[in-house]
């Protein structure tokens, strides 16, 4: 790990002032950042520890929504009574991620900002990684790409976003609140993470110096929910494909649906066309299968990961049936 200076921010203003400096990163729990620093992938000169800022509360909003502070741990968010009662999808997604030790450490803000686990990004022995070194190429395109993207990728990068929490937040139409040198703003989850395009080094639409202060959830209307994570081990592994499915039911029929996929793209992949097709549908496998097919329209497989195109569809069908109570 390179040497750096460490400062602990005493308040939000001071944090943002420090964070705006060059070569400076905010430090949450550090479970991803320190790992990347050990591998030489990230080499910040200054870290601003934000874990003691007053951002650790979960509170109800006047519009019926819920605000989760940026430093609330993944474990605390997953077990909070308001989250388990109103947003079971989020609780399930959080508990599907990482290990208990990591969930005790990892923060809400940090989870959103974790970086891809593409092995070519992580291993500096490989010279080609546009995300790590813009312009150097993409070793995954012709390499081991079993874990990689099938949707929204570019010829510059086929990495996927690793978060489970973010997939649930995308399905739930959450908003990310940030504070930076130019003030505060709120970013819808759908605009928070980026597709790689020609600039895969940028994971999000955050500007340098902007600090996540909270994630806001709209009032809960999709309480029939299931987070299905398909992975190589039963626990403690990143998703091959995951599905966040949340439904409003009217008897046996789906009134409205929210579907987002993980493990398939550079960002949580919201399947809006599938959602439209599911509205008014029953839970029979054939109608769900048609809606699932719409989610992978335009999908492209690479040498090792074409199986994900079929897997994603089957996972959608199972997640929706489970959420609706049919499986």
């Amino acid at each position: 790990m390179n040497s750096f200076t460490y400062v602990r921010a005493s308040n939000l203003d001071a944090a943002v002032r420090e964070g705006a400096r060059a070569n400076t990163y905010y430090l949450g729990a550090g479970t991803n950042l320190l790992d990347l620093m050990k591998g030489g992938v990230e080499q910040p000169m200054r870290l601003v520890d934000v874990t003691r800022l007053p951002l650790a509360a979960i509170e109800e909003l006047s519009d019926g929504g819920l605000r989760i502070g940026a430093t609330v741990s993944n474990a605390d968010a997953a077990s909070h009574p308001l989250v388990t009662a109103r947003y079971p999808l989020l609780s399930q997604a959080l508990l599907a991620g990482a290990s208990p030790q990591l969930r005790n450490m990892a923060t809400t803000g940090g989870n959103l900002l974790q970086r891809t686990r593409c092995s070519y990004f992580y291993d500096t022995a490989f010279s080609a990684c546009n995300k790590r070194k813009p312009g150097s190429g993409c070793a995954a395109l012709e390499g081991h790409n079993r874990m990689h993207a099938i949707l929204g990728a570019s010829d510059k990068c086929i990495a996927v976003h690793p978060s489970d929490m973010a997939v649930a937040l995308a399905a739930l139409d959450a908003t990310v609140r940030v504070r930076g040198p130019k003030g505060e703003r709120a970013i819808p989850m759908s605009d928070f993470h980026r597709l790689p395009g020609d600039a895969p080094q940028r994971d999000t639409t955050l500007q340098h110096g902007e600090l996540i202060t909270a994630v806001d959830l709209p009032s809960a209307q999709f309480t029939k929910a299931h987070y299905l994570k398909v992975r190589d081990r039963a626990s403690y592994a990143f998703a091959l494909v995951s599905v966040a499915a949340a439904l409003q039911m009217e008897g046996e029929r789906i009134k409205a649906a929210r579907i987002a996929l993980g493990g398939v793209a550079h960002k949580p992949w919201r399947a809006t066309r599938s959602e439209e097709m599911l509205a008014g549908s029953g839970l029979q496998e054939d109608s769900l299968r048609k809606a699932a097919a719409a989610a992978v329209e335009g999908a492209k497989g690479y040498r090792d990961n074409s199986f994900k195109i079929e897997l994603a569809q089957r996972a959608i069908v199972r997640a929706v049936r489970t959420a609706g109570g049919a499986a």
């Binding site: 790990m1 040497s3 479970t31 320190l34 620093m37 870290l47 208990p100 030790q101 990591l102």
Partner: protein, 195 residues
């Protein structure tokens, strides 16, 4: 010496023989310019340390405090051998900076025996690991035990039952190369069942 950061702390210059030019901050680190003082509370005892920011809690425990019960396995947050309790919650000490824990209570495997009612006796989880033969080589054991102590507290606080399936899922952050899992599950279950 298991890491450059730990080596630096003992006064050697880890980059002194490097053939590549030093980044400014690394050079400053080698000269000791970033060293900060911190007081860590470990097993109920305060320790005053002067360390570089890049020293992890794990390296601080092992290389500065001599508390080598906490083990370094992967050093990347994947194996769980470095698990300790911070304010009663289990964490990977390899993925957190020592400086970040100035106000925290850290408990390592060395602190479990005198932690709680049975002062001087092995912690119930330690006793159960011995009784159930829940280890072979023992390298992952301190992390397994600290993790189990954390799990038992989580189960009490959140009111979930410690079935074998739940134990397996909630202990999945601790890898055992010897494959002692069945006996580890039995040991944790025994303590959980005893309430």
């Amino acid at each position: 010496m298991q890491s450059a950061a730990a080596a630096a702390a003992y006064g050697t210059a880890p980059y002194a023989t490097s053939q590549t030019p030093l980044p400014d901050a690394a050079a400053a680190g080698a000269r000791g310019e970033h060293i900060q003082q911190v007081t860590l509370s470990v097993n109920g005892r305060p320790y005053v340390l002067a360390i570089e920011p890049r020293v992890t809690l794990l390296d601080a425990l092992r290389e500065y405090l001599g508390l080598t019960g906490t083990k370094k396995g992967c050093d990347r947050g994947q194996c769980g051998a470095c698990t300790v309790l911070v304010n009663g919650r289990r964490v990977n000490s390899c993925l957190t900076l020592a400086l970040a824990h100035a106000d925290d209570e850290v408990v390592t495997v060395e602190g479990l025996a005198s932690f709680g009612k049975a002062a001087g006796k092995p912690h119930p989880v330690q006793a159960a690991f011995v009784e159930q033969d829940a280890f072979q080589c023992g390298y992952c054991t301190p992390g397994q035990i600290c993790s189990a102590v954390g799990l038992l507290a989580e189960a009490r606080a959140q009111g979930f039952q410690l079935t074998e399936d739940v134990i397996r899922e909630r202990m999945s952050g601790n890898i055992c190369r010897c494959g002692a899992y069945p006996n580890i599950v039995a040991a944790v279950k025994k303590v959980g069942d005893a309430g």
